[in-house]
Symmetry: C2
Subunit: 302 residues, 2 copies
DNA sequence: TCTTGCATTTCAGACGTTCAACATGCAAGG
DNA sequence: CCTTGCATGTTGAACGTCTGAAATGCAAGA
């Protein structure tokens, strides 16, 4: 606990905690470092560190000289650890910047030095951040010095445009030859949606609701096996998050969305893909309409 | 001529050379540095350098103390300069790397140091390159060290998948509300296509043919005003270039393409967008079929 | 033989420095 | 008055160094 785990190590820690917590790794299961290393695509070194961290939390037990095993009473601490991932520090700045920008607190044009000053970033951090933002399309380098924020995202049309792209891609993805929705994945999606209907919508933060929707749609489109379609959707979703932050969410409409998500899953699992595509079209159209109703909120600013 | 022009300066040089060559800037026109600087969004400094370069080429004349003017006989050297842009050094490595990868000369997994060694790159250069490649989706950082090339692009399906994304996006873009094709842009597109039919197809390199097609489609989709659709198309086109390099082009089919391009322009300018969308669908479908016929070539490797 | 634990080697990111390129203010001239 | 030319201040990218982290090889033990 004294050490601050690096990204790789903590990723492994959380992945294993998840599996123990979910019961995928039963108590007493052996955990050979080499096996785990292969699975995560890393060497045994960070795996060993991760196991030591897990041992400190009582999730696994170390038998000196013989290896690591899942602790008999490991599921509880695993569940505790599984929840709280440390938030990326840079992401916080990213959202702060997006918020500042959308609220009009950042000028159209600004130098990198000014941004570093404002957000307290090092050179490298600012570089990463702005590269990411530039890739998402809401800022670009100016010739010469500095950066220019593009006006695209501040217009109310932007959100609508993002939905129209989804309307073009998502139904089409369901009709891709070779479409195959993994049953296990479908079951997980179904469980999430049903959990939402059974009270989850009230409990979840609006951030979590957005995440859930994104994951559902990306899973459905990803099953098409067309990486270009999936990537286009992922990109538009990353930007859409910024826009959605500024709309008030009507929690009621998430019930309808969840039911529609389930209906689409039903159709897909029954192999009725044309109907599923039509349902997806209707679903997105409905979401778009309910969004258009909330549109005045966008224009008033914060 | 002795100096090696920086990117900003050479961009201005070529932009001005283009305008002089096209006759947009008539002989004797005055070229105030401040005006040009505002137009390009930079300061007077690089503009002054660019003007000096143009003076060396005889495209403009400097009247000491009074400023720069387009040279009476400036159009010829301008046309000469307008053609040959200096190719980005990093781009050459990029294509070499793509070529090596698609030909199987690069392993699935490789460390950054090995890549730097192989292509003679500095740390920063390799970073830029791999970030770009990662953004395009054909390589990704491995946890730990090194990079992993994704298998996606080496499969023959990839090219087909890229067309199916375009098939979803492009016709839809023509039906976007607010679609407006700038008449001047339409005229330029038309001129290019007609030039192609009138012998341009035989003269152009296959690289130029690809460029021409991309520009046409991106112009058409860009007129939708939906930045998400345009960006999705641009991204898929960047990757598609790599795949197309490995297919043999049948020059004959470009005649048919050019005619279809013109027919779509006709429909758009007549405001018959639904029909244009349908024609675009048919056009892409035809291209995809002719590509499928060439598919065995992809599988044999170089 | 397979495993862990340790030591060595390799690697890439962070940091600070240097330098070329750009912005800007000012003086001089048409 | 507007323009150019020059001098000064600012910015960001390239380079080299350094440090922490990961890969790898090897020995010991179950």
């Amino acid at each position: 606990m004294s050490e601050s785990p690096t990204s790789t190590v903590s990723a492994i820690v959380h992945a294993l905690a998840d599996e123990v917590s979910a019961g995928a790794l039963p108590a007493g299961a052996r955990l050979p470092a080499q096996r785990l290393a292969d699975r995560f695509g890393v060497s045994r070194f960070p795996v060993g560190q991760a196991l030591r961290v897990l041992a400190e939390h009582g999730i696994v037990v170390a038998t000196p000289g013989r290896g690591f095993f899942v602790a008999p009473e490991g599921r509880l601490p695993a569940a505790a650890l599984s929840g709280r991932r440390k938030p990326d520090g840079l992401s916080a700045v990213y959202f702060a910047m997006a918020e500042d920008r959308l609220a009009g607190r950042l000028p159209d044009s600004i130098s990198g030095a000014a941004l570093r000053e404002r957000y307290g970033l090092s050179r490298g951090q600012l570089g990463q951040l702005l590269d990411r933002i530039a890739a998402e399309g809401w800022a670009e380098r100016r010739p010469g010095y500095g950066w220019r924020f593009s006006a695209v995202l501040t217009t109310p049309d932007a959100l609508e445009g993002s939905y129209r792209l989804r309307l073009a891609i998502e139904p089409a993805s369901l009709l891709e030859p070779g479409y195959r929705l993994d049953p296990a994945l479908a079951a997980r999606c179904r469980a999430v949606e049903e959990g939402m209907l059974a009270g989850g919508i009230e409990r979840a933060s609006s951030d979590a609701l957005y995440e859930r929707g994104v994951r559902y749609h990306e899973a459905i489109v990803g099953a098409s096996g067309n990486p270009f379609m999936l990537e286009a959707l992922q990109r538009v979703n990353r930007v859409r998050r910024l826009l959605v932050y500024r709309t008030l969410v009507d929690r009621q409409r998430f019930y309808r969305q969840a039911r529609e998500h389930l209906a689409i899953l039903d159709l897909l699992e029954a192999g009725r893909r044309e109907e599923a595509a039509e349902a997806m079209r209707a679903h997105l159209g409905a979401v778009m309409e309910s969004m258009a109703a909330a549109r005045p909120l966008l224009e008033t600013g914060r």
